[in-house]
Assembly symmetry: C2
Homo-oligomer: 226 residues x 2
């Protein structure tokens, strides 16, 4: 008696995945333990994590100069993680506000002493539109441009990828990741909570260009540091 | 063919818990979905979360003036979460260093512009001892005193609860929570990754005295803010 859940929260997973997980829940790969109980440093788990990354890279077409990080804290964690890793206090960023998720990214970014420039805001349509390409001005001194390709609450999606030149483009892809081909090389950082398109709630995937790593603010919590 | 895992990582869970979880993995409480797929705002999940909190409160004996938070990011997240919520830059804290986990809490706390005073350090015994009560001096101006009641790597445990007067006592109880009666009222904050004593990896429980909430630094990531 399986049902589908089309609401703007977690999505259903394929039945065969759930059935395999259930069958292995007390004995995974002959270990006598579930995958949740084995050591995260053990051979079997390390191989499982490596395979997960390899499959994700293959399906998404992630180039070698991008790292793939599986983190906790969901996309909400990355609303803070992105500014903490990519900016210093006093920097400027550009943000396209197309609805509730953009607004959350905006409000979190404001905690970090940044000049957050909302270069497009779809308030006039009550967030039922996205801005046309070329209808807004980006700033060359922005540390990054943030946008939300798909907004689940208002139900709007961009039909194009914003052109940001040398400024890293950052996208919250939680509700559309892997639903269509993505040219990863156009982005500096892609992040997504896994609960809609990739798996259960409780994880976040971050795809980050390697040259953007290693520059986190001193006070970045380790769990959010690229 | 179940086995036990006594290494210093995740621990095994009771077989009957895993079997119930497996049986419900494609249809939880007649919802036609697993608990990982239903809306986190739905009645069934909200009731499940409330029951989990109520049971935890009852088993641990958590007084009403303490909040119980289920968070992501494990104890490592709280190594940052505690200083971000309980201090401002320039403040002082006291820390008892009894091994690898204390050292991790120490190293993370140092990111936050604090005067971190290591009031006891068991280096002389190579971290095979804990300091005797009364053998170290605490400071009345400390924002909190941090200790690790049980260290899994060195295998040492405190036989007493440090007396800190009006200064909030903070404990990383990851490897001993609920293994013995705890007088919660002696603590300001208790935190624990759930993977050893409470459940699978991927969650952290924080028990925090309510008067210590609502004072987080502006730049505290929402996922870590009490």
């Amino acid at each position: 008696m399986r049902v589908y859940n089309f609401s703007a929260g977690p999505a259903v997973m394929p039945l065969e995945v759930l059935e395999e997980a259930a069958a292995e829940l007390s004995d995974w790969q002959g270990s006598g333990m579930s995958v949740m109980e084995v050591s995260h440093r053990g051979k079997a788990f390390v191989a499982c994590a490596a395979e997960t990354e390899a499959r994700f890279r293959s399906v998404m077409g992630v180039p070698d100069d991008y790292a793939v990080l599986f983190l906790q804290g969901g996309a909400t964690g990355q609303f803070a993680g992105v500014p903490m890793n990519l900016t210093a206090a006093g920097d400027s960023i550009d943000l396209l506000n197309t609805g509730q998720w953009s607004a959350k990214a905006l409000s979190e970014a404001k905690k970090f002493g940044l000049d957050v420039r909302v270069v497009a805001d779809e308030a006039a349509s009550k967030y039922t539109t996205t801005p046309a390409a070329g209808s807004y001005e980006l700033h060359a001194d922005a540390k990054y441009v943030h946008y939300t390709p798909n907004e689940t609450i208002g139900g709007v999606a961009f039909g194009y990828v914003p052109e940001t030149g040398d400024v890293p483009l950052v996208a919250d892809m939680s509700s559309m990741i892997l639903s269509q081909p993505t040219d990863v090389s156009k982005y500096g950082v892609i992040y997504a909570g896994t609960q809609k398109n990739l798996g259960p709630a409780g994880m976040c995937v971050v795809v980050v260009r390697r040259d953007l790593m290693g520059h986190a603010r001193t006070e970045t919590p380790t769990i959010l540091e690229y």
